[in-house]
Symmetry: C2
Subunit: 400 residues, 2 copies
């Protein structure tokens, strides 16, 4: 029997306790490991909880108990969570987390510490919630040279865009709806400005390309510039607007990660990933394109991914071998300047002005004094240069 | 360095040789294993091949070489492939295969033999070609109690149906097109009669539910009854017709597997998996629904999955722990009689006759002397009984 401690009894932490407890027999049968939730650490009191007898307030109880082999960190953030994770790894315990901020910011350091202590640091739940994605990339696509990874990584913004696309709901109203349904935080900045998607594409890119990509080097735009008009114009020419995190292998072994709204052809499967669902596409030189789809957040889906990591950690006691990558820095990251694509542009200009800048354009329509057009394929650098003469209100890359 | 032998230099075997050779550096960097293709066994001569110096005709060369730790079987069928697999496992070598027929028919026996010899028998490529699916089910969804698995498992029939749906091409013409493009065999029986999908749903069900499901107990229908009229009627009421392999957890711990054409709501992501692509949906009690999508066949995608298994086998030398399940028999399999769904029916009858049998029906249209209607939800058993009075030409379950 393997003893497990859960740090933080919030949504995800309580979900993990539920899944490990309810499915304990199934897990024992299919994975041949018997798991026991021994402690739940939280500074709050939960006298009514079915887990009341497992509650402790002091992390040192876990840290000093040699029977605890796996620690689940669902505290979030980079403060206490970072401290406890380091101490747990140093005490010879594997750590499993759903904390994308901590992995994106300190992943390399924590993996190095795990390796040193011959334990594992696992974080399947940090990207795509319950969707199996990190392990499939690192194991199932291990025979591939990966050229690109991209996807719908944030459920809140996908819900907002879906409401705009399918029900003609204004951005602000859709966001309020998302908050009412519990899909968006009271302060939705991290979601709608693309910060959450940024952390996730950092983790995906790091895993696909083998070097740590730090969020501070990654340009991230959200969806605040997307209007109902944009959604309608995109529809008219056969596209849907989606917020994508994307990372492409560039020149000189650089990785080019970024977050931005894109126009996706309606026929592309990813364009049909709607509501709070996530979808992630990986391109490899052998496999071509594969896509992973499912619930990107939520108590039980996230707990499902955490549980899988706990089982894996329990099956690999004494073997620090599951995941590793090299450190990275500003030099690891290339610029989106070199990425070529067609663009969707909404700008305060006349069509002859747009054509003077961009050469061949295709006019989609106009709204007020704004012209909407698409360009021929141009690089990010060329786009910025050509767009300078126009008063651009919104510009999105068009995916093929 | 780990020596690998490939048995059979056909499409998949040569693809595996290419992927392992071309990506050897990437594999070494990301997986820390160095692989070397030492032998390729084939009874034919390939003097012009870049691998000519690795070719041997006698399997005993591989069998008796203790340096060969991993054997890739891409011969196909259950004859020589079965014999060589048993001998390789008995000689202490892990075996990796894309041979779905062998896994579906003798998987339990071969896994038992692998376990006894402390080696692994792996077959990610046997379902869904390059799509990561077996490992995600056994590892990433290990914390879930799985209730159902279903999907588009055969690329040939999906291509034919897509041509019928999108381009109004007749069944026979679409099949000829598929043959011309190399998507269908000269004898397409195994594809269009659902036998290929049957083997794959057996492997998926076995992995999801932990007991071997043998193909001979699984009812399988193909797509030969689907007409252009059916496709058009389905479209009219918001559905697409797709051939699905499906397995549901039934009463008394029985598993209910079958293969049949279904009507899928257009809004369902799986309905939008077209051409030769495959898509597989897994439902778990924690994760909800996840879907895996990608190329279900082809030289390099299949080789991608084989390569991943080779890497995994190489990383787990001396550890027989990757996959296992219990044996099953006729009693493991439940009947589709208990599965309830709405049905799409095309029958030579009047609407009052249909209503007399089925109670409330919804008439979709008619073609010649055939009435097309949908039923209320009824079980498979009730459906058969009610349909007896009518001359049913085609009947497909409708998925929600």
């Amino acid at each position: 029997m393997i003893d497990v401690a859960i740090l933080g009894f919030g949504t995800v932490g309580s979900g993990v306790a539920d899944v490990l407890t309810e499915n304990v027999k199934k897990i024992k049968r299919s994975s041949t490991v018997e798991l026991n939730v021994k402690y739940i650490v939280d500074i709050r009191d939960f006298p009514e909880s079915v887990y009341a007898d497992k509650m402790v307030k002091d992390f040192r109880v876990v840290e000093s108990d040699p029977d605890v082999k796996v620690v689940v960190e669902t505290i979030g953030g980079t403060g206490v969570a970072f401290d406890f994770t380091k101490r747990a790894l140093s005490a010879g315990k594997s750590v499993v987390t759903s904390n994308k901020e901590l992995v994106a910011t300190h992943g390399y350091e924590l993996l190095t510490l795990a390796k040193k202590n011959n334990v594992n640091y696992l974080f399947e739940a940090s990207v795509g919630g319950g969707i199996p994605i990190l392990r499939p990339i690192s194991q199932c696509l291990a025979g591939n040279d990966i050229s690109e990874v991209f996807g719908i990584l944030n459920g809140t913004t996908n819900y907002v865009l879906t409401q705009m696309i399918e029900n003609n709901v204004e951005f602000d109203d859709a966001l309020r709806q998302a908050q009412k349904l519990g899909y968006a935080e009271a302060d939705p900045t991290a979601d709608i400005e693309g910060l959450d998607a940024c952390r996730k594409i950092c983790i995906l890119a790091t895993l696909c390309f083998g070097k740590h990509i730090y969020p501070q080097y990654v340009p991230a735009e959200g969806i605040t510039r997307v209007t109902l008009d944009d959604v309608a114009f995109a529809d008219k020419i056969g596209y849907k607007i989606k917020l994508l995190g994307r990372a492409v292998k560039g020149k000189d072994d650089k990785i080019i990660p970024y977050v931005a709204a894109h126009l996706l052809p309606k026929k592309r499967l990813l364009a049909n990933v709607s509501d709070v669902m996530n979808g992630i596409v990986v391109k490899g030189n052998a496999v071509g394109e594969v896509m992973f789809y499912g619930p990107g957040a939520g108590k039980l889906p996230t707990a499902s991914a955490v549980a899988a990591d706990v089982i894996d950690a329990a099956k690999h006691i004494g073997m620090s071998k599951l995941l590793f990558w090299e450190d990275g820095d500003a030099e690891t990251v290339g610029s989106t300047d070199e990425l070529v694509s067609q663009w969707y542009v909404r700008a305060k200009c006349q069509s002859d002005e747009a054509a003077a800048s961009f050469g061949t354009i295709s006019v989609v329509g106009s709204v007020g004094d704004e012209l909407v057009f698409t360009t021929e394929p141009v690089s990010g650098a060329a786009f910025r240069e050509k767009a300078e003469a126009l008063q651009v209100q919104a510009a999105f890359r068009i995916m093929v």
